[in-house]
């Protein structure tokens, strides 16, 4: 029954989206003003209905209703509660339902709270959001129905892929999706503003909080996904330049560029067409990513079961939405008037540089991701990995970081280079000093990590300089947000460079009772024992690790075997210290009874994810500041209106 109700609500939500699109389109025509009050409630209703449909799917998973095909194929009655819940989106259909749910709720939320945007632009935005949602409703209902029943209920579910049975599944997909799909709001804003020719500072100020919100979640989602891959895959790496990772990085790069260009548009009324274009590009990257991941042209744990019709369906959606948006842009770009001018030395110019560099990185990541697909079409199989991405990305990242030293100190419109020389000299000296020390102390160190550590040290100092000489109590929250986010980039970069420069690895076959050295750690294998969990059994190595002769700590890496579906997974054991992380993996038993152990000492590697979290925190501070400012302004306005009304009486 719940499955049928869920499906019915999904159809109704799709019908409401269609209605929302038509009502919005008609409301914008001359004489259609009567329809204007309808659009907002429609968007909210649609959001609630699709959320209710998603809630019914969650209920089906929690109760393990094995008459539903999706549940039978992806769940199991003995699975722990958290994986029953998270298993809802650990499959293709469920995750696409989560996609439209976020899209619907996002549109509904815009309808509920957005008050800054011009009314006609808002109507066009909501119509645009409905238009995009419709394609994904169609995709769900026609090609990936999550509520399909089996002719006969299955006796038992097939279970969830062991790789996904991790608490990461409860956090990484929802946060990433809120960010990924949240960018559809920026896309719809851009469409709306193009339709009503409303590209200007007010539009940018209205759009910015929405982009910020999506960007915060995207940052968190990528950071969480990276840490999950790091501890679960047992390779000790935190980023593999896998196409699936690139699919999440590309929207992030575009959204980061969009945030910065939107602030130029909001503050200075420049970069108009460019900002709108980035709004289109950001969500286009989300859709391209979904196509790459879900069409079956890539193999990964994210691809789920492959169905070729889905690939062509998503490809058609891509063509319609990206092609349509670009066509609209081409038609309307000439009506977007020239923005305000600025000098080559100004805040705007620095932000333009940042945008160009971010788009450069986006370009090389896109090319590197698509290249294997292209060559394969011509019968040549290649894979593109870190040897391509790392140096080529660094060519853009390092100059961008140097400009981040200067940009936040520059004045809008026009500035004198001489005015910022002194404050910029401090981080420059710090960076040079770190480089100097590294070159002297570690002459064997590779070029990129050395430069990375220097740049990180410089940026860490440079990021807080905008706070100097300011009244800290009166400094607006968004400024703190920028400082924290830029500082977070420095922290993450330091972690990345340190991991690649100083990590030590030890691979050995060890007898029980023997010990191994890795970095400053001495690790003894004290025993191997079998243990059992709710739906798995494992061999567990009992390790006793001591840092530089200190008190021993226990680590218990496991090799787990799952029964439903059958599968193995290594469960690494980590020990985090302030100055790094010890990473241990249990391998196989060698022929002579020794056990393979893989050990890493990774100095300062947690900084990578701490940095990611700081970047998101910076975004959150900035968003909070803007929301507070908006609410205060709206309150003041309504007070004035109320007074006027009273006086009028």
């Amino acid at each position: 029954m719940i499955a049928e109700i869920g499906l019915a609500m999904l159809w109704m939500a799709a019908a409401l989206a269609l209605l929302q699109l038509f009502a919005g389109a008609l409301a914008l025509r001359p004489g259609g003003t009567a329809l204007i009050p309808v659009v907002r409630p429609l968007a909210m209703m649609q959001g609630l209905l699709v959320a209710a449909a998603f809630a019914s799917l969650i209920t089906l998973f929690l109760t393990t209703d094995l008459s539903v095909k999706l549940v039978a194929e992806n769940s199991h009655s003995l699975k722990p509660f958290i994986f029953k819940l998270a298993g809802t989106w650990g499959n293709h259909e469920g995750s696409m339902l989560m996609w439209v749910t976020i899209m619907g709720l996002g549109g509904g939320f815009v309808a509920l709270v957005e008050r800054r945007l011009r009314e006609d632009t808002l109507i066009a935005t909501l119509a645009g959001q409905a238009f995009v949602s419709l394609g994904f409703y169609a995709f769900l209902l026609l090609a990936s129905n999550p509520f399909a029943r089996l002719p006969e209920p299955a006796p038992e579910g097939q279970g969830l892929n062991p790789l996904l049975q991790d608490v990461g599944l409860a956090f990484h997909p929802p946060t990433l999706y809120v960010g990924y799909v949240g960018l559809s709001i920026a896309f719809s804003f851009a469409i709306g503003a193009l339709v009503t020719r409303d590209v200007g500072p007010a539009f940018a100020r209205a759009m910015r909080p929405w982009v910020l919100g999506a960007w915060i979640f995207l940052t968190l989602g990528i950071t969480a996904g990276s840490y999950w891959a790091y501890y679960t895959l047992g390779w000790g790496g935190w980023w593999f330049w896998d196409p699936v990772e690139n699919a999440s990085l590309m929207p992030w790069l575009a959204a980061t560029a969009l945030l910065h260009s939107a602030s130029v548009l909001a503050a200075r009324n420049a970069l108009r067409a460019w900002t709108v274009m980035l709004g289109v590009v950001a969500f286009s990257m989300s859709m391209i990513g979904t196509f790459l991941v879900r069409s079956g042209i890539l193999t990964s744990v994210h691809a789920f079961a492959v169905d070729p019709t889905r690939g062509s369906f998503i490809l058609s959606l891509l063509a319609i939405y990206i092609g349509g948006a670009l066509a609209l842009f081409a038609l309307r770009a000439s009506t977007v008037t020239e923005g305000a001018r600025f000098a080559p030395v100004s805040r705007e110019a620095a932000l333009v540089f940042n945008n160009v560099m971010l788009c450069g990185i986006l370009g090389i990541v896109l090319v590197g991701t698509l290249y294997p697909l292209l060559t394969e079409a011509f019968g040549q199989k290649v894979s593109v990995g870190p040897p391509y991405f790392n140096p080529v990305a660094a060519i853009f990242v390092l100059p961008m970081i140097v400009v981040m030293f200067v940009g936040p100190l520059l004045r809008w419109r026009e500035d004198k280079a001489a005015r910022v020389t002194a404050p910029v000299a401090i981080p420059a000296v710090v960076a040079a000093f770190v480089l100097f020390v590294l070159v002297l102390a570690e002459p064997q160190m590779k070029l990129l990590p050395t430069l990375g550590l220097g740049a990180a040290a410089g940026l860490a100092v440079a990021s807080v300089i905008p706070l100097f000489g300011r009244n800290l109590r009166r400094t607006p929250l968004p400024t703190y947000g920028m400082v924290v986010a830029h500082f977070g980039i420095a922290v993450a970069l330091a972690g990345i460079a340190s991991d690649s420069a100083f990590s030590t690895e030890k691979l050995a076959a060890v007898n029980v009772g023997d010990s191994q050295q890795v970095g400053p750690w001495t690790i003894a294998l004290t025993g191997i024992e079998p243990i059992a969990g709710q739906n798995w059994t494992a061999l567990q190595a009992n390790l006793s690790a001591s840092y530089a002769g200190g008190a021993p700590v226990a680590l218990q890496p496991q090799a787990r075997s799952f029964s439903s579906p059958p599968g193995q997974r290594t469960e690494s054991a980590l020990k985090t210290r302030w100055n790094g992380q010890l990473y241990t993996v249990l391998g196989e038993e060698a022929e002579d009874g020794r056990w393979q152990l893989r050990l890493w000492w990774k100095p300062f590697v947690p900084l990578i994810w701490l940095g990611g979290a700081l970047v998101a925190l910076g975004g959150a501070l900035s968003l909070l500041g803007r929301v507070i400012r908006d609410v205060t302004r709206l309150r003041a306005e309504s007070k004035i209106a109320w007074r006027r009304e009273r006086q009028g009486r």
């Binding site: 788009c359 450069g360 370009g363 090389i364 199989k381 080529v392 060519i395 004198k416």
Partner: protein, 150 residues
Amino acid sequence: MSTIKPKHQRLVLVVIALVALVGAGLLAAFALKSQASYFYLPSDIVAKPPEADRAVRLGGMVEKGSIAHSPDGITVQFIVADGKARVPVRFTGITPELFVEGSGVVAEGHLQAGTFMADNLLAKHDEKYVPREMRDMTKAQAKAVIAETK
């Protein structure tokens, strides 16, 4: 410093963006040419060996009875074959769970004096998650490989 005329400014910005994007494209093309790692079958490697330091991928079947463990307990040597040619492979590390004789494997690494030094091994994870190269490989060489590994 004087501000530029509005019209020129837009032109300058467009030119900068284009130069950067074209630059990124050229850089990407150049880097791809030198850094992309190509996929080889054992017969390809024998017929046309890649340059010594070039990273490539080698895909094929692990020949029956060929896996030999070194005394250090962490290095394995085995032969990857595709029915036409055989390539010795050496790998130091923890082998994937489903790395067994008579099963498919993709090795990432480089060729050194006739031996393929693998940095990483990809094996079939389970029925659902087969590395893409391996799926194609088994399809293309199914017959030869089945004859070989029987």
